[in-house]
């Protein structure tokens, strides 16, 4: 059995450094998801409105975000806006901005879907009972919609974690970058380390996302 780099993993602080790298990715995802859930819910409710200008603006935003690869969005914010506006944006901030924009679009889709799935008679009954529009949403529609939303938003977390792997492309030091550094540093002592290290990174991402996916699946089944 040739040396495939699993020893390198245990040398020094290598494993802890990889975990730290994963931590950076998870932190960016978590912050972006929280922002996305709040803004996405607001946007999803706003999309129910019949204001033409509002609709046009939101449509443009949603379609652009939906159709562009996230990496292109990252490039636009990280390289494009810094050049055009002359400000200085750290990679992590650029990542949070992009993933929040993307997550908000995704979340608003989920919220809209959940709201549409509520039968019309719920709205009508609420109106017949004399509830105002805000009351209808607050006491009748949202509590039902939230049940359908929670599994989907949990799913959004795993998608966010997977997407944040892209930040290495704009120079943020996260798990993949740390992996590259470890492989480079041990090039002489362990030339085949790329296999073991990248397999470990693969496993780490899997272990971060899998439990969340299972949870989302279980909740979806129970609350259907």
């Amino acid at each position: 059995m040739p040396d495939l780099g699993f020893d390198t993993l245990l040398k020094g602080k290598n494993f802890a450094r990889l975990l730290g790298g994963l931590g950076v990715a998870l932190k960016i995802s978590l912050v972006s998801v929280l922002i996305s859930i709040v803004l996405g819910t607001v946007l999803g409710v706003l999309r129910q409105r019949e204001n033409l200008l509002l609709k046009a603006v939101m449509k443009l935003y949603l379609e652009f975000i939906r159709i562009m690869p996230q990496l292109v969005l990252l490039f636009i914010v990280y390289f494009g806006t810094t050049r055009s506006f002359g400000w200085n944006l750290p990679g992590e901030t650029a990542a949070v901005i992009v993933f929040s924009l993307w997550g908000t679009a995704e979340m608003s889709d989920l919220v809209r879907g959940a709201l549409i799935s509520i039968p019309v008679h719920q709205y009508e009954s609420a109106a017949a009972l004399g509830l105002r529009k805000t009351q209808t949403y607050l006491y009748v529609i949202l509590p039902q919609a939230v049940r359908r939303l929670i599994p989907l938003s949990i799913n959004l977390i795993t998608r966010m974690i997977k997407t944040t792997s892209l930040v290495v492309m704009i120079g943020v030091v996260e798990i993949l970058k740390v992996a590259q550094q470890i492989i480079e540093a041990n090039r002489m002592s362990s030339p085949n380390a790329a296999f073991g290290i990248y397999l470990t990174v693969f496993a780490m991402y899997f272990l971060a996302c899998w439990p969340i996916s299972i949870l989302a699946g279980k909740l979806e089944k129970r609350w259907r």
């Binding site: 892209l166 492309m169 296999f195 899998w210 996916s213």
Partner: protein, 219 residues
């Protein structure tokens, strides 16, 4: 905006776009095939393979394409499996997309009532005929929108190919930004070329979805 620059580098982007589309569609075709195999394995409950498919789907769905590509491109050669970047790109896209395609097919199959299968049998259709003439046409119509959505998703995912030094659109843009510091022009070209690739597929998707809804399928 430097229009001369844009005119000069359009051919470069065109070449890159062709590469993106070529590898993208090869990968998507492979993903559809893989997804179909997974779904068939699952549908007929083939003993051992069914387990393998279940593990594969979990692995594929819970890891990012970038990490999968890094493992395939930089990790696997250490085991003696040597390929080139293009093959890696296709393989990575197939590995990622296979599970999503399988899921799309499954949603189609599961949406069909058991009564369809039972009626077909009671009419004297064989198992093959039932699948070919009753189940498959309905399942495909129901899963078509999901399949198109997956195609768009996978085409977008091709943007990480630059990480394994394939000269795709991202690679070209990054190169030009680095070489000439022509950020705005490079990014505008990048966005335009991605729109040229993705918009037609997206429009096709929404037209198809509307038609299918009109036809009364997928309800």
């Amino acid at each position: 905006m430097d229009q001369e620059f844009i005119a000069e580098y359009i051919p470069l982007y065109r070449e890159a776009a062709v590469l993106t589309v070529k590898i993208g569609f090869a990968g998507i075709a492979a993903a559809i095939l893989l997804g179909l195999i997974c779904e068939i394995t699952d549908y007929f409950r083939i003993p051992v393979l069914k387990r393998v498919v279940a593990v594969y789907i979990e692995l594929s769905r819970n890891t990012p394409l970038l990490i999968q590509l890094f493992f395939i491109y930089y990790g696997l050669p250490k085991l003696g499996i040597h390929t080139n970047a293009e093959v890696c790109g296709v393989a990575g896209l197939a590995f990622l997309g296979g599970s999503y395609m399988a899921e799309a097919f499954r949603s189609g199959v599961e949406a069909i009532d058991a009564i369809q299968e039972e009626s077909a049998y009671s009419l004297g259709l064989s198992r093959f005929q039932t699948i070919r003439y009753v189940l498959l046409p309905q399942a495909l119509t129901i899963s078509a929108p999901a399949l198109i959505a997956n195609v768009i998703f996978l085409l977008k995912e091709t943007s990480v190919f630059s990480a394994i030094s394939l000269m795709d659109l991202m690679f070209t843009a990054k190169d030009l930004i680095g070489l000439y510091y022509s950020t705005t022009e490079s990014l505008v070209l990048l966005v335009v070329f991605y729109l040229l690739i993705l918009l037609p597929v997206s429009i096709l998707g929404s037209v198809m979805e509307r038609r299918l809804r009109y036809a009364g399928f997928g309800v």
